[in-house]
Symmetry: C2
Subunit: 198 residues, 2 copies
DNA sequence: TTTTCAACTGAACATCTGTTCAGTTAGATG
DNA sequence: CATCTAACTGAACAGATGTTCAGTTGAAAA
């Protein structure tokens, strides 16, 4: 059986997303360098050449996955529209971070592990977006300092420390584990709040 | 110019360590799957085949790097011999973790990023060692709870959270940066202490 | 019905991969 | 001096790599 093109209707709007989904899953599992275009193609159900209808090259595939993840993150954060005093906004940020990241473990994994496989200009673009995200937290910490409710010796270091703590969650949390997400959320919020409070 | 074997004395005690150093550096930089045996050999200054005098295969090279890092970590922790009440031991653990990890960014990077490239039995061995390390911190947190000086809703979650926070430091700290190590140590100890205190 | 063309195949390209091994070299040994 | 052998070379193996592209397919348009 050969020549399976156009089996049942136009496929580009099905195959396209499937390529991204499959690439994300395989890269999260084995790493970018360890996954071949032929492996991705095989899981999608096409030949390797067909992938190049959806990405100019392998590097762009990785960059697209990371860029869209970061864009989703920044858009969702903007939509969360944190308000109130610094403590309320810190709680909002903490809960937002956990709720956004926990259901996206593959994206988180790829976005944090495959930075070194990005071409320099792509790396710079992702880093800029990550920096934007970090700056939101740092602004909250600075505001809390100004309000006199937070006591952090160095807002930049505290920002990095808190984000590392929150993101680390994605590396060990497994759905259906001992603790539900809202329980986890409460525990982390407790740690975060106390860490920065006076 | 060909046939350079045994240039100036026995080399195995020089080449052996150089293979490990070079492999560690290159794997930290580009990732295990992205580094070839020929690249490592070229930087060491030998042909690819010569590497097999020092490792049975590429997988063992990775495993050796990770196992020796974890063994060093556990030995150093035991040598630190944390004593006193839970608060003193928590401070000891925090400062030990930072002092041990900061000068070893390549080892930390490889040990946390390349877990998925380990063969299953090797993965299990590394995970067991990591678990041993985590358990030391968890014991301290539990002791602090018993002493009534700590208030952590879940010692396991707090353990993972604190270790993620501390280890994350290695991912952004650069020697010669804005802050010296002892400054960093103080800032992190402040965050850790407050996070778990009543 | 014939034509069109997006979506795909399958083969090819040059190059790289981990690993093996017969052969070479030169310092150490007797 | 000759001998030994640890340490290495260089070639080879079978297969995988990203990417290109002429050709094929079949549903939809004319």
């Amino acid at each position: 059986m050969q020549g399976m093109a156009r089996k049942q209707g136009s496929h580009s709007d099905i195959t396209g997303p499937r390529v991204l989904e499959t690439a994300l899953r395989l890269i999260a599992q084995h790493g970018f360098a360890a996954v071949s275009m032929r492996q991705i193609a095989a899981e999608v159900g096409v030949q390797a050449g067909a992938l190049y209808n959806y990405t100019p090259d392998k590097q762009s595939l990785l960059f697209d996955l990371m860029r869209s993840h970061m864009a989703d993150l920044l858009n969702a954060l903007a939509a969360a529209d944190l308000q109130g005093d610094a403590l309320a906004r810190l709680e909002g940020f903490t809960r937002f971070h956990i709720r956004f990241h926990l259901p996206r473990s593959d994206q988180v994994f790829v976005s944090y592990m495959e930075l070194r496989n990005l071409a320099p200009e792509n790396f710079a673009a992702i880093e800029a977006m990550r920096r934007d995200y970090e700056d939101v937290l740092e602004d909250i910490l600075r505001a809390g300092e100004a309000e006199g409710i937070f006591a952090v010796p160095d807002t930049r270091v505290a920002t990095m420390a808190l984000i590392a703590m929150l993101t680390g969650l994605s590396h060990w949390y497994r759905e259906g584990g001992r603790l539900a997400m809202n329980k986890i959320e409460a525990i982390y919020w407790d740690l975060v709040r106390k860490a920065v409070s006076v």
